[in-house]
């Protein structure tokens, strides 16, 4: 097992609610997440599962009201960062932890030149002046494959893929210990996505940046991640490394995600969708929140939330189908 010192991020029992007029949205419900240093950790789930809320909690960017972190511990390199004073949090954001948002089109300031936007981050966190910051900005632009002379241009003069490179350059400008990437390629075309993923992989190898990669695309996970956590209704329902998740799938929801994807090698294969819809987060089902959609649901699933069952040191599922014996054997669900 890993010792705690190797963890860059350690989230325990995180609970986040959005208290709205229509009721309390239980976005994250006791989520545990550990990211090891130098690793890329994939957080996979569908719309409304709580992926982005988890990421925003780390940076204390949950809009409040209506959002409140109700409970839980968030540790960065062993130090608690939950509930810090605004000023202390500001020195972490962009410096120790930075974030790439989904849509590069809206995360840049349209009336500021590219280099000024990147330099702003560096000036804020580092002691050098503007000139030094611009110098470093040009280094960053070169690193993400953009010619520094284009730094004088404005975001509208850049294509989508180039804007996403700018956002990556900005996020990496202060050499963060942890980079949170929230669906960084969803808004991009496949050929551009391939470029950005290659870039991110190279950066990881070069600088050893730890990464939390939020995505709904298992193809991207297979390509870039070391560890995977599958999130459903604000719980991590299955976690492991790539071999655990892709070749030894245990949770019925993870199985459902794989079965929903068209198979390129066998185009005649029928898609098997997960029945039903994502549960309403203001009114989550009792017991296991997946039970109304689960083909294997049993009586106990409606009553009690399942505990973690480990297949090996790291791979666990939260599902009543398993005991300490059959989790190792597998064969309980169709896949795996």
């Amino acid at each position: 097992m890993n010792t705690k010192s190797e963890l860059i991020l350690d989230i325990k029992n995180l609970k986040v609610e959005y208290r709205t007029d229509d009721g309390v949205v239980n976005a994250v419900n006791g989520l545990d997440l550990e990211i090891e240093k130098g690793q890329t950790h994939g957080l996979v789930g569908e719309t409304g599962a709580g992926k982005t809320t988890t990421a925003l909690s780390v940076l204390d960017l949950i809009q409040s009201p209506p959002g409140i972190i109700v409970d839980g511990k968030i540790k960065l390199e062993g130090k608690n960062i939950r509930g810090l004073k605004d000023k202390d949090m500001e020195s972490i954001r962009g410096n120790d932890v930075s974030m790439i948002f989904q849509d590069p089109m809206t995360s840049l300031n349209p009336v500021m030149t590219i280099e000024d936007q990147i330099a702003e981050v560096i000036e804020y966190h580092e002691s050098g002046g503007y000139k030094e910051a611009i110098e470093k900005t040009h280094e960053m632009l070169t690193m993400v494959g953009l010619p520094p002379r284009r730094g004088k241009e404005y975001p509208h003069q850049f294509s989508g893929g180039m804007k996403q490179r700018v956002v990556i350059a900005m996020a990496l400008a202060c050499r963060p210990k942890l980079l949170i990437a929230d669906e960084p390629t969803t808004a991009l075309d496949v050929t551009i996505q391939a470029q950005v993923l290659t870039l991110m992989k190279n950066l990881k190898n070069q600088y050893g940046t730890s990464m939390l990669m939020i995505t709904h695309d298992l193809g991207i996970v297979a390509e870039i991640c070391d560890k995977v956590s599958v999130i459903y209704a604000g719980h991590i329902i299955e976690h492991g490394d790539l071999v655990d998740i892709f070749d030894n799938t245990r949770h019925p929801y993870t199985e459902g995600l794989f079965n929903s994807l068209p198979n390129l090698q066998d185009r005649k294969a029928k898609l098997i969708p997960i029945k039903g819809l994502m549960p309403d987060p203001t009114d989550l089902p009792t017991g296991c929140p997946f039970h109304p959609r689960c083909d294997y649901a049993m009586d106990i699933c409606t009553k009690k939330y399942p505990e973690k069952r480990y297949r090996n040191d790291q791979h666990f599922v939260e599902c009543h189908l398993y005991d300490s014996d059959n989790i190792k054997r597998g064969g309980v669900i169709k896949r795996g």
């Binding site: 496949v190 298992l218 068209p262 185009r267 997960i274």
Partner: protein
């Protein structure tokens, strides 16, 4: 063999911009047989949605012919076209913006029937609405709900229901599942496939998602900057892609299999502007195979083997033949 249901010949759609004419769709040909699906793939801005809209004359073609059951839609008067739209429908990408927020589910599905005066009484119409709702898997209790009360998957079912309300023969599906989660995407794709089998529908399926198009289409046309650069059956296209752009596109698909190691081709270079493009290959600046010849003339779409068309120079086609990229 039968005549195709849809036959597009020399279709062009140009837009006027302050900098010159933008060639959104530039001289494309294809045909689709009854009950079949043609997948149209390409990246944003390649003209695939414009093609879909121009075929239905939601945009007026600049030039070219669109034969539907042997008649040229491009030559129809507006009123005749309006009548013909009974047979030609469209499902839009975004289930959030393509529905009128002030109309209930039944009103949305009913509107085309009212416009085309299909039924004499409201009761008859309502009966049909409920029948269609059942077909697309919308519960009857949702009949008076508004779009904002429903999730994306159900909204897209309304989009499908509206397209079906006039019992069309041909449907343009413009990225119908792109805005949906994978588990819901699979539900809608299965629904559309079942409808095709039951009702004998013909689809033009526009998407940027290559694994979806491979699953869904009989034939695939790859577009790049207003041109079709390759067209073949889905199986042939994925097993034996010949155009360098198709190869790069296929190699870029992230595949959810950890034993697959992609032999990725990363495209470099600037995308050619679609405004007043020169008469040379439009992919030439990004192509790893480009020769001098490619900078001089535009390659024609030629049939290299049965029903496999490629617009590229002979040397490159030969070089790429039978070089499957999706197998390990």
């Amino acid at each position: 063999m039968d005549k195709p249901l849809i036959e597009v010949k020399g279709l062009k759609k140009y837009f006027k911009t302050p900098y010159g004419m933008l060639h959104a769709v530039d001289n494309i040909d294809f045909d689709i047989y009854k009950g079949k699906t043609l997948g149209l793939v390409g990246e944003s801005g390649c003209g695939k949605s414009t093609t879909g809209r121009t075929i239905l004359r939601l945009l007026e073609p600049t030039a070219g012919k669109i034969f539907f059951e042997g008649e040229d839609l491009a030559s129809f008067s507006n009123s005749k076209m309006e009548e013909k739209r009974r047979d030609l429908q469209i499902i839009f990408q975004d289930p959030f913006s393509s529905l009128n927020p002030r109309k209930t589910v039944s009103q949305t599905i009913m509107e085309p029937m009212i416009i085309h005066k299909l039924y004499k009484t409201k009761a008859q119409m309502m009966e049909k609405v409920l029948e269609i709702m059942e077909i697309v898997g919308l519960a009857e209790r949702l009949v008076n709900t508004y779009p904002h009360e429903l999730d994306g998957g159900r909204r897209q079912r309304i989009g499908v229901a509206r397209a079906l309300s006039l019992s069309p023969k041909f449907i343009v599906c413009d990225e119908p599942v792109s805005a949906l989660d994978v588990s819901i995407q699979a539900q809608i794709l299965n629904l559309m496939k079942e409808l095709q089998e039951e009702l004998g529908l013909t689809y033009l399926f526009i998407t940027h998602d290559l694994s979806v198009v491979n699953h869904f289409s009989d034939e695939i046309a790859v577009m790049y900057l207003g041109k079709i650069v390759e067209r073949a059956s889905s199986e042939e296209l994925f097993n034996n892609p010949l155009h360098p752009y198709t190869i790069a596109l296929l190699s870029a698909i992230p595949i959810p299999d950890i034993h697959y190691k992609p032999n990725r081709i990363i495209l470099k270079g600037e995308i050619t502007s679609p405004i007043e493009p020169k008469n040379v290959c439009r992919f030439v600046n990004r192509c790893g195979y480009a020769t001098e010849k490619c900078h001089l003339e535009e390659p024609e779409l030629i049939e290299v083997s049965k029903d496999h068309h490629v617009a590229c120079i002979k040397e490159v086609i030969e070089m790429n033949a039978n070089k499957s990229i999706l197998k390990n």
